[in-house]
């Protein structure tokens, strides 16, 4: 249980550290959600601005990728397994949910292994698992491919939209090196990859980075650690979330990942194509690669967004959800216009589900 006394002490320490405006990006969607849910911004002095980062896997998925998944799902004999939130994101021709009503076979799962079992039991179906997520879920997909190979299952493949967190952070500072003063780095991703890949943030761009846990106390400690680095004028990558992360990450998980995946360019919603920021299945395992197997062509299709959703600007931290015209009126969790409202970790959903009466005045009208 949360210790209120410790929390208010921490909040005071933080207030004592800030004498000028500081912009901190919380990279991970779970951070965004917990910051909203626990009203953490109310504990911070006005000088600190928290900006939601690109760490919500569904939110950064391109509209054209959703279209690609739909193209796949329309192929006769194909059964698609996906996570629940992906199912509901509108593509340019509606969501996967809608496709199901039109005779496609799209299934929601919380466990990728379910897809493997289904493939085993239904050899006449082509089973495709839609793999989205970051370095947290990529090893799971690698293990699945490994399992399928060893079992000799021939009707299973993975459509990988996996993305890597470090390159996108580098891209954000490269675009505007003054915009963000420090990063609350994601706990789960770092559990797998460790901290090496973040080093350029501190070494080249002089940005403090603190790998932070998800409890309110963790988040406040992470913020405090960033402020300390700023005031000491020494930037480094630090681990606050020591109970979950060490410098090396989990070698076995990284090994699986690098055995089956290689870096590729990937397109992020709102951010564009970022080189080497994606994970594609290695050529020698391309029998298990949905892109190859179904000739889905180029994985990067550039197309202007057709919706008026502001997710892209929100992902870059340029807008906050309540500044989107659709927020709370047209766009709500039960009728999402953009992915940031679909995923429970998206900034828009977090603002909608956990409103505070101090911020986001627009929701009161909704």
């Amino acid at each position: 249980m949360v210790n209120r006394a410790a929390i208010s002490q921490l909040a005071q320490k933080i207030s004592g550290k800030v004498s000028y405006p500081v912009r901190i990006m919380e990279v991970c969607g779970t951070h965004t959600m917990n910051i909203a849910r626990f009203g953490i911004k109310q504990l911070l002095p006005p000088g600190i601005k928290l900006i939601s980062g690109p760490g919500c896997p569904v939110c950064v998925t391109e509209e054209s990728d959703i279209d690609l998944i739909q193209e796949l799902a329309r192929i006769a004999g194909v059964t698609v397994f996906t996570f629940g939130d992906l199912y509901r994101i509108p593509g340019s021709e509606g969501s996967l949910e809608k496709l199901n009503g039109e005779g496609a076979d799209v299934r929601i799962t919380v466990s990728p292994l379910e897809a493997v079992h289904y493939a085993e039991q239904n050899p006449a179906r082509e089973v495709v698992f839609i793999a989205i997520g970051f370095e947290t879920t990529a090893p799971v997909a690698a293990v699945m491919i490994d399992l399928v190979r060893k079992k000799g299952i021939k009707n299973f493949s993975v459509l990988s939209f996996h993305k890597r967190i470090p390159p996108v952070l580098m891209e954000l500072v490269r675009e505007d090196s003054n915009y963000i003063d420090g990063f609350l780095l994601p706990g789960h991703v770092s559990t797998v990859i460790g901290t090496d890949e973040y080093q350029p943030l501190a070494k080249i761009w002089s940005k403090p980075g603190v790998v932070t846990g998800f409890e309110p106390e963790d988040i406040l400690q992470g913020i405090y650690a960033i402020l300390e680095q700023i005031s000491e004028k020494s930037c480094r990558i630090e681990i606050q979330y020591k109970r979950g992360v060490n410098k090396e990450g989990v070698p076995l998980a990284r090994e699986y990942m690098s055995n089956y995946f290689e870096f590729c360019d990937a397109s992020w919603r709102g951010l564009g194509v970022i080189s080497e920021s994606g994970l594609a299945i290695r050529k020698k395992f391309r029998d298990f690669d949905g892109f190859y197997r179904f000739s889905l062509g180029n994985r990067i299709i550039k197309r202007a967004p057709i919706t008026t959703c502001s997710c892209g600007e929100i992902l870059r931290g340029v807008k906050v959800p309540c500044e989107c015209l659709l927020f709370g009126s047209v766009c709500k969790p039960d009728n999402p216009v953009g992915p940031c409202m679909v995923s429970s970790e998206g900034s828009c959903a977090a603002s909608y589900n956990y409103p505070s009466r101090y911020e986001d005045p627009s929701i009161m009208k909704g």
Binding site: S8, Q42, F83, V110, S343, Y352, N353
Partner: protein, 319 residues
């Protein structure tokens, strides 16, 4: 499966003088007074879930709708829509569980109907129940009776039923699987009818968050609750954390939210905690004049946030 087979099942389990007479309508001799009547349809997937089944749920749901109005449930009718090919053994278990649930509270099932529909026209079995109960003449529960400083009580940790069904539907593979709290509330809340209770609700669809918002709107008052006073079930809390969800949006089928005067709140709590279903009952907040129509929650950290009306979709996070 034939209609006749199903009807035989009804007679076998539900039998009582009124049903046995097999007339086109049940004939009831009711005494003068105020009667409460409610009807509800139940579609739940899976039909059998840890802690109950659609039969028990359909009887408890209707009993609870009556009980929270202060009514003593007396009569029930039920109507089944059954998909052709539904297992007759399963149906028997469902009928049995309806029967034992009803009898426990002295409820008589006076009429029943079934329709068997073609495969694909319904999903297994749907049950509609209608209940009739008598309300003591001094009782007039309504959100408009709420007054500033009244206390808000919840009788059990939120979310147990919703999580149980969610886990079963999504093959969460948790062992042991989370149990539904599906239960009749009549014996738990009936003793409160002598206190200054303003109104009660059972937080089914949309959970605690939906019920509190509804009360705030209908009663035109604000509700302020303290998160740290909300009872928690450790299994529910653990899984919710994992899924990135909060239990306040998930249904209970064996809990009530009770608005009671400040004066009688402690007494009510004492009575509730003396009942097996109310051991974890807790006063979680109060009615305020601030923020009419809204629910304000003081979080674990002492910060404040609006508790939003749930949107109806429950989606776990990915990583």
């Amino acid at each position: 499966m034939t209609q006749q087979l199903v009807e035989e099942l009804f007679i076998k389990y539900f039998h009582n003088p009124i049903l046995d007479s097999q007339l086109d309508s049940a004939m009831l001799s009711l005494k003068a007074g105020r009667w409460a009547m409610t009807t509800d349809s139940f579609v739940v997937k899976p039909v059998f879930f840890p802690g109950g089944d659609i039969g028990k749920l359909s009887v408890c749901g209707t009993i609870n709708d009556l009980a929270v109005m202060g009514a003593a449930p007396l009569y029930l009718t039920c109507s089944f829509i059954i998909e052709e090919g539904f297992d007759i053994g399963d149906l028997e278990i469902i009928v049995q569980s309806m029967n034992s649930t009803a009898r426990k509270d002295g409820l008589t099932i006076v009429a029943g109907d079934t329709k068997v529909v073609e495969r694909g026209y319904c999903d297994g079995v749907y049950i509609t129940t209608t209940g009739l109960g008598i309300v003591p003449n001094w009782i007039n529960y309504s959100p408009s009776a709420m007054q500033v400083e009244d206390r808000v009580i919840i009788t059990a940790p939120p979310g147990a039923h919703g999580l149980s069904v969610f886990a079963a539907r999504n093959n969460l593979g948790v062992d042991p699987p989370p149990q539904s709290d599906c239960a009749s509330l009549f014996s738990l809340i009936e003793p409160l009818n002598s206190l200054e209770v303003r109104c009660m609700r059972d937080p089914t669809r949309g959970g605690l968050a939906a019920v509190l918002n509804e009360l705030a709107v209908k009663g035109k008052k604000g509700i302020k609750i303290d998160e740290s006073l909300i009872p928690i079930d450790s299994t529910v809390a653990y899984l919710m954390e994992l899924l990135g969800l909060e239990p306040y949006q998930l249904a209970n089928e064996g809990a009530a939210v009770i608005i009671v005067s400040k004066k009688d709140a402690e007494r009510a709590l004492e009575i509730l905690r003396g009942h097996p279903l109310g051991r974890k009952a807790s006063i979680i907040g109060k009615i305020t004049a601030e923020i009419p129509g809204q629910v304000l929650m003081v979080t674990y950290l002492g910060t404040e946030r609006i508790m939003q009306m749930p949107s109806g979709v429950i989606i776990p996070r990915i990583c």
